[in-house]
């Protein structure tokens, strides 16, 4: 399955069939990654032939396991685009369309209406969802990594436990408000979210326990920060959410519940936290340059406030 080297297997919450394919691929990958020892092999010569038959049998099994993956093209989803559309059309007069557990990766599903559809555990890796509507849809535990979500509407959708890492939310490098996805009143509790989602609307969304912290590459060298500049989090539930190192400049956090959220190292410059709840919120290293904390609740019980940057410029 294409793309599994990017995020697959790390968390293991994608659909069962994809998970098993990924496990097979991982076994194969691991076997290929074992360092070859040409010098030693040359020295041994034909002695290698005397190795136990079990070793050969193991190689054969590996090769057989690899066959379904090698034969499977990158765009071999469980349904074609037309089949998806036909299901959606049929659902217009009946029960909601059911795509739960299916592999719809890499399909062009842009401009479609998935309102109220069941996409529980669906694999939408690399899928083009731009300008589609998922209002009220169930996307819990779905995998949306590397999906295209330009102007996608997730209003009221259930994305609890979903994976939304490195989606493409904009046509170019430029952040355009009209292209930002919409997550108003969506349930993103426990979701893993990472990427550039600036200007997205998360108002009244449930982001409790969401993982939106910084991401460090495999070499532990480059630190990538979640981009949430100028996002609307007004009234959102961010209790226990990980927003460490996130760029939240100019974000609207009015009335948001940030109880026990991790905002350490986050950029909150010019962010509006009017009426936000900050009980137990970790603020060590956060940049509070020009942040508005008027009527913020639980500020005295926030953690690491002394270690926050530009605290003197805060608007109380």
């Amino acid at each position: 399955m294409a793309g599994m080297d990017l995020f697959g297997g790390a968390i293991g919450t994608s659909p069962p069939r994809s998970a098993s394919l990924r496990a097979m691929a991982r076994r194969l990958f691991d076997s290929r990654q074992r360092p070859a020892q040409p010098a030693k092999r040359a020295a041994v010569g034909f002695a290698a032939a005397a190795r136990p038959m079990s070793r050969i049998a193991c190689c054969l099994v590996c090769a057989l396991l690899a066959l379904p993956i090698a034969a499977r093209p990158a765009d071999a989803a469980d349904l074609t685009v037309r089949q998806v559309v036909e299901r959606l059309v049929r659902a217009a007069d009946g029960p909601p369309a059911d795509f739960s557990g299916m592999d719809l990766s890499f399909l062009d599903l842009s401009g479609l209406d998935f309102r109220a559809a069941n996409l529980t555990g669906t694999d939408l890796y690399g899928t083009d969802l731009s300008r589609s509507s998922f209002a009220g849809a169930n996307l819990s535990r779905a995998r949306l990594d590397r999906s295209i979500i330009i102007a996608t509407d997730f209003t009221g959708a259930d994305l609890s436990g979903a994976l939304l890492r490195r989606p493409a939310a904009f046509t170019t490098f430029e952040v355009v408000a009209a292209e930002a996805p919409i997550f108003v009143r969506a349930n993103l509790s426990g979701a893993a979210i990472f990427g550039k989602l600036s200007q997205a609307d998360f108002s009244d969304a449930n982001l409790a326990g969401a993982r939106m912290g910084a991401y460090r590459d495999a070499q532990l060298i480059n630190l990538s920060r979640m981009e949430l500049v100028d996002c609307d989090f007004s009234g959102a539930d961010l209790t226990g959410a990980d927003l460490s190192q996130a760029r939240l400049a100019f974000a609207d956090l009015t009335g948001a519940d940030l109880t026990a959220a991790n905002l350490s190292g986050a950029d909150l410059s010019r962010a509006d936290l009017t009426g936000a709840t900050l009980t137990g919120t970790q603020l060590a290293g956060a940049d509070l340059d020009g942040a508005v904390l008027t009527d913020a609740r639980g500020l005295d019980r926030a953690l690491g406030l002394d270690a926050a940057r530009n605290r003197g410029t805060v608007v109380d």
């Binding site: 074609t80 685009v81 037309r82 559309v85 036909e86 059309v89 842009s110 401009g111 479609l112």
Partner: protein, 233 residues
Amino acid sequence: MLLLNCAFGAMIQSASAQAERVDTALVLAVDISGSVDDGRFALQMEGIAAAFEDVEVQRAILGGSHGALLVTLVNWSHKPETAIPWTLIRNRADALAFATSVRAVPRGGEDFTCMSKMLELVADKVLPQMPMPADRTVLDVSGNGRDNCNPKTPAEVLRDGLVATGVTINGLPILAGDEAATIEQWYRDHVIGGPDAFVLPAESFGDFGRAVRRKFILEISGTAGPLRAAAML
């Protein structure tokens, strides 16, 4: 003239009583790639809008056995998209409202002319979402350039797939720009297909309105047969 108007009025009334099936389902696929600047885009939209305001076109729409037309507008370049979803036209007011919607379509589009992607969109997303059956399904493709997207599936293969499902694809090549001398033949070879399919070129973007009006009357009234026969002589 009065008699004609009365007859037309009666036709509109009888048409408005029906809605379960339409005579023609018409997909208008308009090229908005890089060679189509704002002015040319406006000329195309104005041409389509004016056609739906034309009494002759309205007569063709309402003169069929079902007295109704389904129409949708697809704008295509690098990535095609449905600019106006399926709309039922069963009286003059519907036609005028559709014309207003066409004029309000914003200019989008990118550089490339991806005919294959447009045909894929029509086959996979537009036709399956047709809200009611039609006696005839017509895809009306206009543009001034050949596919330049190195498509995974060639346009003619997708064309054949659509034709196999009973769709007629007509072409309105606009003889303007670098491909003015060759585009009509390219449309004949790679785009059109199906029963009574025809090519009706516009001499320029300025001529688009005239061509599209004539084309609609032929497509909607199902009288394209004689034109095709004449063109083949």
